[in-house]
């Protein structure tokens, strides 16, 4: 059994990277990720973690250094947020296409302008198509557990892909939560060393990151697509094994009080906790409302989502990011697309809220359920709106 302690979630993430016996950390500090890498730098400096800490000059360099590090067979961890994730954007595609399992925590933050260091999921949505496996955490325990699982998933020989662990900036990163810290020995058994199988080795030279002409590029992309989709099987396997060892079971789509629910809310990340309280309150009033929480963002869990939605009549997707001039929140449009082919599908409405650190409280989730009923009549034009904006 592990030990339950009160710990800031950022420090728990650093602790997970330490217990994973990370060999290299290359990172650049940025709010609200700072405490994660600050703690890791401290661990390396005082000998708690036997690793190389590379203090790079930018996030672009951080991710580039991580690629080189994984390519030599070293277990590699980094973390960033918001603008930092955008600065490393082009290198993210390289990590996934070169199949280098960098593990990265992202403290989700709004993107400028106006300048805003607070939390939302604009950065998460901007890296949607980078080919990384992406897990979204709801609380501190999940953040620690997900980092441990991320190493196992990414380094699996059938996967070999980088993994992002998304944690809401401030809402999670700066909050002290009761977190069960697993035993060191158990983590070591769960996470044996699994170096990159074709590392850079002077005795057995390979070329990484070579070019592919038009005659090969399409085949390379198809291989990447098949590989990312197939990783879902391994993700589920790892979560099941994690449950057997550590006693906490994770699923791609979590259900909360969905039995007989005619109306379902759907959230990504920490706002699921607030939405649960709203569901409890509404259930107390006899309303048939439930909640779905999307934990696995890439590869997208199509089957699990369809099963979880079941025969609900109304599905309300809450996004903390906006696709300007597009079909509403990014999660909303993806979920509508995922359910489009279903014979029986709920009316799907979307709200965009909680932007740039604006809170969404229990009352506001209740308000969304109420507002959705008003928007619901079939044929109504508006299918998404920004919630809580002052008109």
């Amino acid at each position: 059994m592990g030990k339950k302690v009160g710990m800031e979630v950022s420090l728990a993430i650093a602790e997970a990277a330490r217990m994973a016996d990370t060999d290299v950390v290359a990172a650049y500090p940025i709010t609200p990720q700072t405490h994660i890498v600050e703690r890791l730098a401290e661990m390396v400096a005082n000998g708690e973690l036997d690793a190389e800490y590379i203090p790079v000059e930018s996030e672009h360099s951080a991710m580039s250094a991580c690629l080189g590090s994984v390519a030599t067979g070293a277990r590699t961890f980094t973390a960033t947020a918001g603008q930092g994730l955008e600065l490393m954007h082009e290198v993210l595609y390289v990590a996934s296409a070169m199949r280098l399992p960098v593990i990265m925590a992202v403290a989700n933050r709004a993107l400028s302008a106006p300048l805003n260091v607070w939390g939302d999921q604009s950065d998460l949505m901007a890296v949607r198509d980078t080919g990384w496996i992406q897990l979204i955490c709801e609380n501190g325990q999940e953040a620690l557990d997900s980092v441990l699982c991320a190493f196992r998933i990414g380094e699996d020989k059938r996967v070999l892909l980088p993994v992002m662990v998304h944690v809401d900036g401030f809402y999670l990163t700066h909050v002290v939560e009761p977190i069960e810290i697993p035993e060191e020995e158990t983590v070591k058994r769960f996470l044996p060393p699994a170096p990159f199988p074709m590392p850079l080795d002077p005795d057995k030279p390979v070329t990484m990151g070579a070019f592919a002409p038009p005659i090969l590029f399409t085949e390379a992309k198809k291989a990447q697509e098949v590989n990312l989709r197939a990783s879902k099987k391994v993700i589920l396997e790892v979560w099941d094994e994690f449950a057997r060892i550590f006693g906490r079971q994770y699923k791609p789509v979590e259900r909360y009080r969905t039995e007989g629910a005619k109306t379902l809310l759907l959230t990504l990340g920490s706002f699921g906790e607030t939405a649960m309280s709203a569901v409890d309150k509404l259930r107390g009033e006899g309303k048939e409302v439930g909640l779905l929480k999307l934990r696995l963002w890439r590869p997208f869990p199509f089957e699990e989502l369809r099963q979880a939605v079941g025969d609900a009549e109304l599905l309300i997707v809450v996004d903390r990011a906006l696709s300007y001039g597009g079909p509403g929140g990014p999660a909303y449009s993806e979920i509508r697309s995922a359910l489009y082919g279903e014979k029986q599908r709920p009316r799907i409405l979307g709200f965009v809220g909680g932007l740039g650190g604006r809170d969404l409280t229990v009352t506001e989730f209740e308000g969304m359920v109420k507002r959705a009923q008003e928007m619901r009549p079939a044929g109504a034009e508006q299918e998404f709106e920004m919630y809580g904006v002052r008109e």
């Binding site: 296409a97 070169m98 199949r99 280098l100 070999l160 199988p197 074709m198 030279p205 390979v206 070329t207 990484m208 070579a210 592919a212 002409p213 005659i215 090969l216 399409t218 085949e219 390379a220 198809k222 291989a223 098949v226």
Partner: protein, 97 residues
Amino acid sequence: MKKTEAEYTWKDMETGCIVTEPGSASNYRTGDWRSQVPTYTFSRCIKCGVCALYCPEGCIRPNAEGNYQADLYWCKGCGICPRECPTGTIAMVDEEE
């Protein structure tokens, strides 16, 4: 027999498109990028090798007589060698179809 590029399916792609055969870049014909080709008046060649030093492709070597000459499998026709040759041995002419 080894597959040609055109026969490669997505299943044949190496993990992460890693190239496992050392030096395989030399199989890549860059000579067909050329629109001009170097020609030689070897009677002027003093075998100094300056052209080979400047060649960005590294494809110039002494021939059987010791005169420096570009290998047209790789020569891209950039025109640096005639510019650097101190004796005017090399001249670029348009590549014929």
